[in-house]
C-alpha cells in the first residue's frame, strides 16, 4: 500500500475543503472497496479524508419520498422498515450483494462509487485504460466472461458491480451532492457514465464533490418492485446479470414500468426501450418477452459472454412475471 496521510473531517464543508485543497485526496467511508484497492495498488491516494463522523447517516421520510443519508450503512438501508415497505427492490438488491459483514461497513455513498471488478482493472500487472488512461484494454482480447454487453466502447468493457445502484436506477433516485460550488442534484441515471474514450471518469460527480444523500421519490410502482440477481453462486458473488423491475398494473394493464439491468454495462442500465414496450400493454408473457427483446436489442457481446444476452432476456421475463403476479394478488 502507498503511504498516505489521514485526516478526519469535522463537517461537510471541512471535508469538501480538505479534498478540494488536498493533493490526490479521497473521501473515506466504509472503506470496503477503496482500502482493498489501495492494498492492491490500484488506488494510490496521497490523502484520505475520513467522513465517518459526519451527520449523514439518517434515513427519513420526506413529503416527496424517502431520504437516505450517504453514510447510512447498506445493512441499515436494506433492513429499514420504510425501505422494505415502500421500496422493496432496494432492500432486495442490497441484500443480494456482498456479505453481512461488508454490508455493515459499506455506505450508500460508497456503493454509488464502487469500482468495477474487471480482473484486469484489479491487477496492476495488466494494461487498463481505466487505471492508466491510454495503456490499453486487456479485457477486450482477454477473458471477458463477466464483461459488458451493452454500452461498451473500444477503450473499456468493464461493468459496474453494484446491486444497489440497479435498484436506484429503477426507482428514479436522485443523488444529492455538496461541493465547493455549492449543492446540486444528479438523477441516478445520469450519475454514472458510459466508458466512451474516458473510462477513467466513471461518474459525473466532480472529484471534490461529496455525496450527502440519495432521495427516493414516491411513485405508484415502487411498492411493487423486485430484484433478481443471477450469479455464479448463491452468496458473495457479483451479478452475471441482474434485473430490477417495478410495475404499476391496473386490471391487467401496465400503467407504469421501470426496468434496470446490472452486470451488463459500465453503469446501471435503465432499459427505457423495454419500459416503452411495457407501458400501456397487457401484463402477459407476450409483453414481457417483447420487453426483454427490446431491452437487449443493442447488445454486443464479447468473445466469452454471449450467454449473458440470453440470460438477461430470461431474467427479465422471469422477474416481470413474478412482479406482475404479485401486483395482481396485492391489488385484489
Amino acid at each position: 500500500m502507498n503511504p498516505f496521510t489521514y485526516k478526519r473531517a469535522t463537517d461537510e464543508a471541512d471535508a469538501v475543503r480538505e479534498v478540494a485543497n488536498g493533493k490526490n485526496a479521497k473521501f473515506l467511508g466504509g472503506g470496503t472497496n477503496l482500502v482493498d484497492l489501495m492494498k492492491m495498488g490500484v488506488e494510490t491516494p496521497d490523502e484520505l479524508v475520513d467522513i465517518n463522523r459526519l451527520a449523514l447517516k439518517r434515513i427519513e421520510q420526506t413529503p416527496q419520498g424517502l431520504r437516505i443519508g450517504a453514510l447510512a450503512s447498506n445493512s441499515e438501508v436494506a433492513n429499514h422498515r420504510l425501505v422494505r415497505e415502500q421500496f422493496p427492490v432496494l432492500s432486495e438488491a442490497i441484500l443480494a450483494g456482498a456479505s453481512p459483514q461488508l454490508r455493515n461497513m459499506a455506505t450508500v455513498g460508497g456503493n454509488l462509487l464502487q469500482r468495477t471488478r474487471c480482473y484486469y482493472f484489479m491487477d496492476t500487472s495488466f494494461p487498463c485504460n481505466k487505471r492508466v488512461p491510454g495503456s490499453g484494454c486487456s479485457a477486450i482480447p482477454g477473458f471477458n466472461r463477466i464483461h459488458a454487453i451493452l454500452g461498451a466502447s473500444d477503450k473499456c468493457i468493464a461493468v459496474h458491480p453494484s446491486d444497489m445502484c440497479v435498484a436506484l436506477a429503477a426507482l428514479d433516485a436522485i443523488v444529492r451532492v455538496a461541493g465547493p460550488a455549492g449543492a446540486r442534484q444528479i438523477p441516478l441515471v445520469d450519475f454514472h457514465r458510459l466508458p466512451g474514450d474516458t473510462p477513467q471518469i466513471e461518474t459525473n460527480l466532480r472529484p471534490d464533490e461529496l455525496i450527502v444523500a440519495v432521495d427516493l421519490p414516491n411513485s405508484p410502482f415502487a411498492r411493487r418492485s423486485r430484484y433478481l440477481k443471477i450469479r455464479d453462486r448463491a452468496q458473495y458473488a457479483f451479478a452475471l446479470v441482474s434485473v430490477a423491475a417495478a410495475l404499476d398494473v391496473q386490471q391487467g394493464r401496465i400503467n407504469a414500468a421501470r426496468l434496470a439491468l446490472g452486470g451488463v454495462a459500465h453503469k446501471p442500465w435503465r432499459a427505457l426501450d423495454a419500459e416503452k414496450v411495457l407501458t400501456g400493454a397487457r401484463a402477459d408473457a407476450q409483453t414481457f418477452r417483447a420487453a426483454a427483446e427490446a431491452a437487449l436489442k443493442g447488445a454486443q457481446p464479447q468473445q466469452h459472454n454471449a450467454f449473458k444476452v440470453e440470460l438477461a432476456r430470461r431474467a427479465i421475463v422471469r422477474l416481470l412475471t413474478e412482479v406482475a403476479h404479485e401486483t395482481k394478488g396485492g391489488a385484489a
Partner: protein, 748 residues
C-alpha cells in the same frame, strides 16, 4: 480422578475435544505470519511474465535504493539449483530458461515491506521468447518439445487379462471421453515461512507445511550441508489439502537463500492470496478415454482406458499423482480384461501438484460417468449395471490385487438408496420434470480409495514414530506428521491413550521439528491415521511393554499406577522412550515394473448420492441433497471424520459446478477470490454422512484412511444427477451455466 473404570473406557470412537482446539478458538495459536524475529527482513519473489523464453538481461528500474536490498539470483545458490523431490528438474530460480509464467527468477529482501513491493515491480527481464505449449493435446502431439525427449514425465501401462481379445465377443462396445479442469486448493492460510541461514549455524526454517522432511530433503541439496545443519519446524498450519505438500520446499528455499545472502538475518516470505493462487500448484487437469466391452447380460468383459494428466512445466509429483489416478481408473468392479495406458505430460504452465484425491478424482469421474452411459446402452439402470459388476472378496482389481477382506458394495448401494429414497425419486422426478422449468435429478457414484502410499511406497518410506514418557507419566508422541486442521494430534492422542489405557489428557503430540521428531513420512495420501496411527499405537505399546518387562507395571493398572511406574522408571533408568518402524502387512506384494499386485494395503469403499435441480431458465444447477456413505474400517473420531467427509464433498461440489481456473498464455487469470468462484455455505446442501465399519486388521483399532475419499465421488454423482434431470450427458467439469445453456439450447 482415576479409577479402575477409566482403563476400560475406549477413547477411540469418541468425539473428544481437539488437542489444539482451545489455542485456535482463543487466538493463542501462532501461525507463521504471527511470528516476528529481531532484525527480520521481508522477502519477495520476482517472477516471469512469459510462459517460455530465455533470459537475456535482468534490469533494475531507476529510482530505488538497490544497495539497501538483498538480491538473490541463481548464481547465489550455494548447493544445487533444484527442488529435490522425485526428479531434480525444477530450479529454485531460473538461471536461463523460463518454462512457465510466474516462474521465480530473482529474490529480494528488505525491512520495509512497501518499498519491497515497489522494488519487486521495478525488476524486469529482457526475454527472448520461445514457443510455449499449453494443453495436453499440444504436449502429446509434440508441437514443441519442452521437457525431456518427448514431453512425457511418466507413463504406466496396467494389463490384466487380454483386452485385445474381448472386442470380438462383445455385444456392446461403448466409448467415451471425459475431462476435468484444474482446481485451486485454497487452503485458509496462504504459503509462508521464516528462515534463518548462515554457514556457521546452518539453515532453520519455520513455516506452514504438510511435510517437514520434504523441506528438509530439499534444503540439504540446495545448501549442500550435512543433515544436522538443516532444521525444519512446522508452525500452526491453516489447511493444506495437498497444496502444502511440495510447494513449501520452494518458498522455504527462497527465504533461506535470502537469509544466507543477508548473513543470517531472519527472512519472512508470506504469499498474499493472489500470488499463492497464480504461482503455486493446482489439481492436474485430465483427459480420460474409455472403451468398454460388455455382454448382453450387462457383464463387463473388457475395459481399455487412456488416462492423461497435464503436469505443468516440471515433474514435481506428477508421476505419483498419475499412479494413483491410474490404479483407481477401473474402480471397484470385477472386470477380467483391463488395459490402462496413462501419461503425465509437460506443458508451459506452473507445475500442477498434490490436491486431495491425487489423481483419483479425475479418473473416477471419468469411470463413473462412463458407466452410466454403458448402463444406458446395455439397457440397464445405472444401479443394476453396477450391481452385476461390483468386486467381491477373492476377486481382483485392475492391478491384479486380490481383495482379501469382505466388501459389500451391493449393501452400501442399497443403504445409500434407502437413505435418499433414490428409487422412488428416480421415477418420480423423471415423470414430474416434463414441461417444468425447474428440473430435478438424482444420481450416484460408487467407488473406492486406497489408503497410504501406492505399491512399495510405504516400504520405501520406512516411517518411524517415537513415544516418550516422563516421570509425571505424561506421554509425548514424536512424529513428523502434521496437524493441518484435520485432527492429527487428537487422533494420535486417542490411539495412544487407548493403547496405554491411560487418560487422554496425559498424551501430548510434539511439534514437528526435524531436530526432534523422527521421519514418520509426509502428511498425505490418507496415510496419517491408518499408517502413522498404527505406528503411534505400537510405539505407545512399546512404552507399556518396557514398564511391564521391568516389573514396574502390572497387567491390570490404573492411570495412577501408570504414573507411578513411569516415575520409578525415570528414577532408575532415565526417560522412557520407544520407537516403532513401518513393516508391511504380511502378503503385500507389488511389482513396480509390471504395475501389478497389491497397490494399497486397504481401501475405503463408498457410495455417494447427489440430488440436483437445474433451472432451465437461468441454467443454474444446484445440489439439493447429498448422502455420503462409506465403509472406513473404524471411525476414530466421529466429529473429525464427518468433518473430513463434509469438507471433501464441499470441495468436490466446487470442483464440479463452480471452480474454473481461467488460463491465458499459461497464466491463471482469475487468481482472486472474487473471480475464482468457490461455493459458500449457501451453495452447499446438507451433507448427510454415514459410516460403516469393517475393521481393517492392520489399521489402529481397525481404522482405514479417509482424507481423500470424499473428493472422489461428488463430481460423477452430481453430473449423473444432472443427466437424469436434463436428459443431457455432460462429460466435463467444471460444468458452468453457459455450458449447460449451450448444450440444452441445442437439444431444445
Amino acid at each position: 480422578m482415576s479409577n479402575q473404570t477409566d482403563t476400560q473406557t475406549k477413547i477411540v470412537g469418541k468425539p473428544v475435544p481437539r488437542k489444539e482446539g482451545r489455542a485456535k478458538v482463543t487466538g493463542a495459536a501462532r501461525y507463521i505470519d504471527d511470528l516476528r524475529m529481531d532484525g527480520m527482513l521481508y522477502g519477495a519473489t520476482v517472477r516471469s511474465a512469459v510462459p517460455r523464453g530465455r533470459i537475456r538481461e535482468i534490469k533494475f528500474g531507476a529510482g530505488l535504493p538497490w544497495d539497501e536490498f538483498v538480491v538473490v539470483t541463481a548464481a547465489d545458490i550455494p548447493g544445487e539449483n533444484c527442488v529435490a523431490l522425485i526428479l531434480l528438474d525444477q530450479p529454485y530460480l531460473v538461471a536461463k530458461f523460463i518454462n512457465h509464467a510466474e516462474e521465480p527468477i530473482l529474490l529480494l529482501a528488505h525491512a520495509d515491506k512497501h518499498l519491497l513491493e515497489k522494488a519487486r515491480r521495478a525488476v524486469t527481464f529482457d526475454v527472448e521468447p520461445l514457443s510455449p505449449i499449453f494443453t495436453l493435446e499440444e504436449s502429446l502431439a509434440k508441437k514443441e518439445i519442452i521437457w525431456g525427449e518427448d514431453n512425457i514425465f511418466k507413463s504406466y501401462q496396467v494389463n490384466k487379462g487380454n483386452v485385445d481379445e474381448v472386442w470380438a465377443q462383445a455385444d456392446f462396445i461403448i466409448e467415451g471421453e471425459y475431462r476435468t479442469g484444474a482446481q485451486e486448493q485454497l487452503y485458509i492460510e496462504p504459503n509462508g515461512v521464516i528462515a534463518v541461514a548462515n554457514a556457521d549455524a546452518g539453515v532453520t526454517v519455520w513455516g506452514s507445511m504438510q511435510c517437514p522432511y520434504y523441506v528438509h530433503k530439499a534444503l540439504l541439496k540446495l545448501f549442500a550441508l550435512p543433515e544436522e545443519k538443516i532444521r525444519v519446524i512446522q508452525t500452526e498450519t491453516g489447511g493444506g489439502f495437498g497444496g502444502k505438500e511440495e510447494y513449501p520446499s520452494m518458498i522455504a528455499g527462497h527465504a533461506a537463500l535470502l537469509s544466507w545472502k543477508a548473513g543470517g538475518r531472519p527472512v519472512k516470505i508470506i504469499y498474499d492470496r493472489a500470488e499463492d493462487m497464480v504461482a503455486t500448484t493446482k489439481r492436474h487437469p485430465s483427459r480420460t478415454r474409455h472403451r468398454t466391452a460388455v455382454n448382453k447380460d450387462g457383464k463387463l468383459l473388457g475395459m481399455e482406458i487412456e488416462f492423461v494428466i497435464d503436469g505443468g512445466a516440471y515433474a514435481t509429483l506428477s508421476s505419483v499423482v498419475l499412479s494413483r489416478g491410474t490404479i483407481h481408473a477401473a474402480g471397484p468392479y470385477n472386470c477380467p480384461n483391463v488395459r490402462i495406458n496413462a501419461h503425465a505430460v509437460a506443458t508451459n504452465v506452473p507445475p500442477h501438484g498434490a490436491f486431495r484425491g491425487f489423481g483419483a478424482p479425475q479418473s473416477i469421474f471419468a469411470l463413473e460417468r462412463h458407466l452410466d452411459k454403458v448402463a444406458q446402452v446395455v439397457g440397464l439402470s445405472p444401479a443394476e449395471f453396477r450391481r452385476r459388476n461390483f468386486i467381491h472378496e477373492g476377486e481382483t482389481t485392475a492391478t491384479g490385487q486380490v481383495i482379501r477382506e469382505p466388501v459389500d458394495m451391493e449393501g452400501l448401494l442399497a443403504r445409500a438408496f434407502e437413505l435418499t429414497d433414490y428409487q422412488a425419486k428416480r421415477e418420480r422426478f423423471a415423470r414430474a420434470n416434463e414441461g417444468r422449468s425447474l428440473k430435478r435429478g438424482i444420481g450416484f457414484a460408487s467407488f473406492m480409495h486406497g489408503a497410504g502410499f501406492t505399491g512399495s511406497g510405504e516400504v520405501y518410506l520406512q516411517s518411524i514414530v517415537g513415544a516418550e514418557a516422563g516421570a509425571d507419566g505424561r506421554v509425548r508422541l514424536l512424529a513428523a506428521s502434521t496437524e493441518i486442521g484435520q485432527g492429527t494430534n487428537t487422533i494420535f492422542a486417542q490411539i495412544a491413550a487407548d493403547a496405554l489405557q491411560i487418560d487422554f489428557d496425559l498424551i501430548e503430540v510434539a511439534q514437528p521439528d526435524t531436530s526432534n521428531v523422527p521421519n514418520s513420512g509426509p502428511t498425505v495420501a490418507s496415510r496419517t491415521t491408518m499408517i502413522v496411527g498404527k505406528l503411534v499405537e505400537s510405539a505407545a505399546l512399546g512404552l507399556k511393554q518396557t514398564l511391564q518387562n521391568s516389573g514396574l507395571l502390572k497387567a491390570n493398572y490404573t492411570t495412577d499406577d501408570w504414573r507411578a511406574a513411569c516415575r520409578r522408571h525415570v528414577e532408575q533408568f532415565g526417560l522412557l522412550k520407544s520407537f516403532s518402524q513401518y513393516k508391511p502387512p504380511p502378503g503385500i506384494n507389488w511389482d513396480e515394473g509390471k504395475y501389478q499386485g497389491d497397490a494399497y494395503g486397504a481401501y475405503a469403499w463408498a457410495v455417494y448420492v447427489a440430488e440436483v435441480t437445474v433451472d432451465m431458465l437461468t441454467y443454474e444447477a444446484r445440489v439439493e441433497d447429498f448422502v455420503a456413505l462409506q465403509e472406513v474400517g473404524k471411525v476414530v473420531h466421529p466429529v473429525l471424520a464427518a468433518g473430513q467427509i463434509e469438507g471433501g464433498v464441499a470441495q468436490a461440489i466446487g470442483f464440479t459446478l463452480y471452480e474454473n481456473v481461467v488460463w491465458s498464455e499459461g497464466r491463471m487469470l482469475n487468481n482472486q477470490m472474487t473471480n475464482y468462484i468457490i461455493p459458500t455455505s449457501a451453495d452447499i446442501p446438507p451433507i448427510r454422512v454415514y459410516f460403516e465399519e469393517q475393521p481393517y486388521a492392520y489399521g489402529p483399532a481397525g481404522a482405514k484412511g479417509i482424507g481423500e475419499l470424499p473428493m472422489d465421488g461428488g463430481a460423477p454423482a452430481i453430473l449423473n444427477a444432472i443427466e437424469h434431470a436434463t436428459g443431457v450427458a455432460f462429460n466435463h467439469v467444471p460444468l458452468l451455466p453457459e455450458a449447460l445453456m449451450q448444450a440444452l439450447n441445442q437439444t431444445a
